[in-house]
């Protein structure tokens, strides 16, 4: 009982099933911290959903999940000569450069691969004009092509770009009719399937699958201690002055749980940018809003979170929770780490 996640299992699983049914040929993506839910758990869920294939981020993750999932495991990070050697017939490598084809074949003869195209993401992938040369090298190297992959951006409509890539694949010498793609809506996927009846479109879905219904997930922090403080009193590691009378709560959840850590947010628009500046301003003054909610409001940190606990200021007049009480917390799941995950 510390910094915990509670999953309303029946509703969450109903969402997983609904998402799977809405995305024919879905490939669940399981990477990083397993979206806060844990990779092993998600691998089990992917199996339960009947998925024949999952996508993982790295070779390290692949090595781990080959043991937790009975189907094929695709690695999203393209293979490089310095990639950890993972040899397994169920592994599917991503190839994004022509120069990697021969060394991959030398290391893992007959390896199964998907070829990635360089989309407007401009992250990994092959230029469309190298695809034919790649196809020749792949055939020569004896690698097995399992599909063509496009990683699309999240901004705006992706259908036009996906459409172009499908046409490119169909015009290319690459011997596959399977396209793995990300970040397309259900209706965009349907549209693409209608336009390209020869192709098998396989959506790779992570966030929308595992975190598509946040209301089924409840993060709860435990109140570990409560102290009465007076305005001007010095507290904490940094001995900052308390700005007003009230209570300091010590709650479970610190930097080791991902509390107080923040990935730079994608901010769009003037209002959003203004908010970001305002938040930054408060942070500069040593004040920051905590993710912990008491009496319906997110409360301020007294000082930056500690490794496993945080100190929260509760102003006078707000009902004070007792030691052992549970507080809801809003977290960024992709960086969250829970002490326990329970299903209810």
């Amino acid at each position: 009982m510390a910094f915990d996640l509670q999953i309303r299992a029946a509703d969450w699983r109903a969402h997983l099933v609904a998402t799977r049914d809405a995305h024919p040929a879905i490939v669940p993506v399981i990477k990083g911290n397993g979206y806060g839910l844990g990779r092993q758990r998600l691998a089990g869920e992917a199996f339960r959903l009947g998925a024949d294939m999952i996508s993982v981020g790295t070779y390290e993750e692949a090595a781990e999940l080959l043991g937790a999932f009975t189907g094929d495991v695709q690695v999203l990070t393209p293979w490089r000569p310095f990639s950890p050697r993972v040899a397994d017939g169920r592994l599917i490598h991503t190839v994004s450069r022509i120069e990697d084809i021969a060394p991959l074949a030398a290391q893992l003869p007959g390896a199964r691969i998907v070829v990635e195209g360089l989309t407007s993401m401009a992250r990994h992938g092959m230029d469309r004009h190298s695809i034919t040369e790649a196809a020749r090298s792949i055939a020569e190297a004896g690698l097995v092509v399992e599909g063509f992959a496009i990683h699309l951006p999240m901004a705006g409509a992706n259908l036009p770009e996906a459409r172009t890539w499908c046409a490119i694949l169909e015009t290319s010498a690459l011997a596959t009719t399977t396209v793995f793609c990300s970040h397309l809506t259900v209706s965009e996927l349907e549209q693409l399937r209608t336009e390209r009846p020869n192709l098998t479109i396989r959506p790779r879905v992570g966030t929308a699958l595992w975190l598509g219904r946040l209301d089924t997930l409840e993060v709860r922090s435990t109140v570990l201690d409560v102290h009465t403080v007076q305005r001007g009193e010095r507290v904490g590691y940094r001995q900052g002055r308390v700005p007003r009378d009230g209570h300091v709560l010590v709650v479970a959840g610190g930097t080791s749980h991902g509390i107080g850590l923040e990935a730079p947010r994608a901010v769009a628009g003037v209002a959003g940018r203004g908010k970001a500046v305002a938040k930054g301003g408060l942070a500069a003054a040593g004040l920051a809003l905590s993710p912990f909610t008491i009496a319906g409001k997110q409360r301020w940190f007294v000082e930056p979170p500690h490794m496993q606990a945080s100190m929260i200021l509760l102003p006078e007049g707000v009902p004070v929770p007792a030691v052992g009480d549970r507080l809801p917390a809003a977290v960024r799941y992709t960086i969250a780490q829970f002490d326990a995950i329970t299903e209810v």
Partner: protein
Amino acid sequence: MTIRVRPISPEDHLTFIASRGTASFLQTPAWAAVKSEWRGESLGWFDGDEMVGAGLVLYRQVPKLKRYLAYLPEGPVLDWSGDVAPALEAMRDHLRTQGAFGIRMGPPVVTRRWEAATLKAALADEVLTRLGDVPADYRDESAIALAGTLRSLGWKEQSAEGGFTAGQPKYNFQIPLAGRTEEDVLAGMNQQWRRNIRKAAKQGVEVTEGGRDDLVDFHRVYVETAERDHFTPRPLSYFQTMWDAMTAEDPQRLRLYLGRHEGDLVAATTLVQVGTHAWYSYGASTTAKREVRGSNAVQWQMIRDSLAAGAEVYDLRGITDTIDSDDPHVGLLQFKVGTGGEAVEYLGEWDLPINRPLYTAFTAYMKRRG
């Protein structure tokens, strides 16, 4: 390495081209005589005493000024795979002394190729509308890198967007002939082409080669074609000048093909050959008797003769980069794709401004003229 550029005689120019196997016909000394409204000059690139490059420059005068745009269409002939900076700097220095305010050139360097099967699939796909969208079958990394080098040396690529540019086409269509027989080439053509060639033979279309006197007949059919296809025909004198200049250089440089059916001229074309490269240059056909397929007959005869004359490439010249079925230009590509050849992308035309204000004024003037 110090490279020097100086004018050379047409004989030395031709000898160099012959030693290289081929060059664009726009880079032969004869072409300067064809383009008599501009002053032409043969240039040689020298590394010490050794000639390492050649080019034909056409000086285009600015209205009312003794200043010129120096234009090297589809040239110069250099080793483009090496360090091109010294050669281009030497060329700039020479052309500057000749009153050039800017230079335009078209490095004869192929960046990408698309085979007929790929083009056929792309033409059938509505989503792909530009050749650049279609995955190429071959691409030359070092040729593509040359674009970056030119940019870093101050050259600017002339946009080839949309249809044809004012200069030479960036995209061309070619039938590879090297190592192939007549049967191979015929087998590579689509059914319609093969059927049309057979049909012309069955109908008794006779293809003969003509001489200078036959240019009059060619021109009559050419004017008819221009009216039908809505382009402005060149005068007969243009073709006579071309004939005189090119055949004087080499009797086999320019040839005239005439396709007749029962004595009527139904199609006429010209063929240019420089070393291992042959070009179909002008084509004309009558509206009457289209069904006897005179055009296919003369094309086939030109292809066979090119093969016999040792050509490694039969060039059907420019195409636009469009593969959009709604674009009127696409018919031309479809016709050419039927020959089983390939679309070839060149590096395009590049400009180096020497006198910036004049260059800017001149390009603005050219743009307005369209």
